[in-house]
């Protein structure tokens, strides 16, 4: 769904006049400059070729090294078309085995289908609710051919579905789908009574959070941010420290700054978050490199944003450049990417997956505003993550190679996400699972 580019002479008057309809304008990719990443090596989305010719993606420590180069990413230069919709017939001569089908349904290395669909069984843990509950699907007396097509490529019947075209992208072979269909045809009602309300995503308790994120005895990130103070005072090779220009310390001099980011910065011809800006502004002024996703970078980003805690997000998207960026960011939000052919919107809009369970995870709702607690402490990682690392994490299981964390594409997507935070108070560092 790479959208047609509008000539600039046409796009600008449209943007100036049609404020309310801005979002529906076609995004213009011609004015986006190239950007050289200033991220640490593991955050650049590089792919290297091993001596045997195998390609390996460079990601953070402990993340998969799988290369998903076959599939479309968020890169604006990636103009590959949509994955073609495929009509498929059941292969002849394969006898469906419900037992094999159930194992495939649950297999974490594939779907797992249980991430979105509930089926009976105490071993189904944890099931999601993004897709329909399939506990009694066989009672609907759907044909095998229909179910096969639904798994292979459901877009034939539902063009706007959130479900990946499992067969069309090659995650499941046709034979495997026959087994899955055979399993689904065994799911006759009534569903067995639930022993544990947490098994069923409809009755499962919603997570309650981790308490006060600004309490230093509760959120280790608050203590870690104190390391920014010596950084703030340290003179770099250029003979200057942050403190030399920004007088009064970060708390006073940075007050309210974070409420205005992400924003379009004419001197760099691009949208930048605080994090992006620090990677160029810090080295330019002090001479000390501050690569994106380095510990020093995140610490400083947290410290700068903490100075705006409690203040409402107030980004200004009125300039033509910012509006064009916002249009591109919104297009990215709805762009289908990766092996799973998902869009952000599939999981994070209330019309689709937001506030539902994906496995055991409750999916965030974009309209609540998802950015104002970043960088955030992740309790399961015991690390501080900024918005970009969170995006890269989100995109990896979708079967997609990531972009550099400071890329323009991510910045404009973040700009779009931040429009939903406007008027709501910043609270950094957040604390999340």
């Amino acid at each position: 769904m790479r959208l047609a580019t509008t000539p600039r002479w046409l796009a600008i008057p449209v943007l100036a006049v049609g404020c309310a309809t801005m979002a529906s304008d076609a995004p213009d990719y011609t004015s986006v400059p190239a950007w050289t990443t200033r991220a640490v090596p593991e955050a650049r989305g590089d792919v290297r070729t091993l001596p045997g010719g195998k390609r390996q993606a460079v990601r953070y420590k402990g993340w998969t090294a799988a290369d998903f180069g076959k599939f479309r990413t968020y890169a604006y230069v990636d103009t590959r078309p949509d994955i073609p919709v495929q009509r498929a017939a059941m292969p002849n001569g394969v006898a469906g085995d419900p037992k094999k089908g159930r194992a495939l349904f649950m297999l974490r290395a594939k779907g797992p289908c249980t991430g979105c669909h509930l089926i009976p069984g105490d071993d189904v843990w944890p099931a999601g609710s993004v897709g329909p509950d399939l506990s009694t699907i066989a009672d609907r007396r759907l044909t095998n051919d229909y179910l096969f097509q639904q798994v292979y490529d459901p877009r034939v019947v539902f063009p706007q579905t959130s479900m990946p075209p499992w067969g069309a992208v090659g995650v499941f072979t046709p034979e495997e789908i026959v087994h899955i269909v055979a399993f689904l045809q065994t799911l006759k009602g009534p569903a067995p009574p639930e022993k544990d309300p947490d098994r069923n995503p409809q009755t499962r308790k919603k997570p309650v959070g981790f308490g006060d994120n600004l309490d230093p005895t509760n959120n280790p990130a608050v203590l870690l941010a104190e390391d920014a103070e010596p950084q703030w005072q340290a003179k770099g090779p250029a003979g200057k420290a942050c403190a030399d220009c920004h007088t009064g310390g970060p708390e006073k001099s940075m007050k309210g700054v974070a409420t205005r980011y992400p924003r379009f910065l004419p001197q760099y011809k691009r949208v930048m978050s605080i994090e992006d800006f620090l990677t160029v502004h810090g080295p330019e002024m002090t001479g000390t490199p501050l690569p994106a996703e380095s510990e020093a970078h995140l610490t400083m980003a947290v410290r700068v944003k903490m100075a705006s805690n409690g203040m409402p997000v107030a980004i200004d998207t009125s300039s033509p450049e910012a509006r064009a960026a916002l249009t591109r960011g919104k297009a990215s939000f709805y762009r289908r990417v990766g092996e799973r052919n998902h869009a952000c919107a599939d999981c994070h809009t209330p019309e689709k997956g937001a506030n539902k369970f994906l496995g055991g995870r409750l999916l965030g709702n974009v309209t609540d505003g998802l950015t104002r607690h970043f960088p955030t402490w992740r309790t399961d990682r015991t690390e501080v993550w900024d918005m970009r690392k969170r995006m890269q994490w989100c995109m990896t299981p979708l079967g997609m190679n990531m972009l550099p964390s400071d890329s323009i594409e991510y910045a404009e997507l973040e700009l779009y996400l931040t429009t939903f935070d406007v008027g709501k108070p910043i609270s950094v560092p957040g604390i999340r699972h």
Partner: protein, 110 residues
């Protein structure tokens, strides 16, 4: 980890003499876990983790905890004591490398 040993204590903002006061404390510490080699054998080395937490109030030990590797990274401890007199409350963390990290809260009555 450069920031090992940062300690933060939190006490209620208003305390009256004789109150039972709940103290929250957090320390930045890696609390190294047992590592195993490819064969699954425990690697024998000196792991760095906190073994003792001692709380002192008005110069007197009020409570101490013996801790092991099964306590999480950046551990959180909470405990209660009776505030009888104004004075310092100290929490001292000792780890296996001999590191001693102390946090102090000043108990004042309002």
């Amino acid at each position: 980890m450069s920031d090992i040993g940062k300690v933060r204590l939190r006490i209620p903002s208003s305390i009256k003499a004789g109150d039972v006061v709940r103290v929250r404390s957090l320390i930045i510490h890696p609390m190294e876990r047992i590592e195993r080699d490819a064969q699954g054998k425990i690697i024998d080395k000196k792991y760095n983790y906190i073994t003792k937490v001692t709380v002192t109030y008005l110069g007197k030990a009020v409570v101490s905890f013996d801790t092991t590797q099964s306590v999480s990274e950046n551990p959180f401890f909470s405990f209660a004591f009776r505030a009888t007199d104004p004075g310092p409350l100290k929490v001292l963390f000792t780890d296996t490398t001999g590191g001693r990290y102390e946090g102090t809260a000043d108990i004042k009555f309002s």
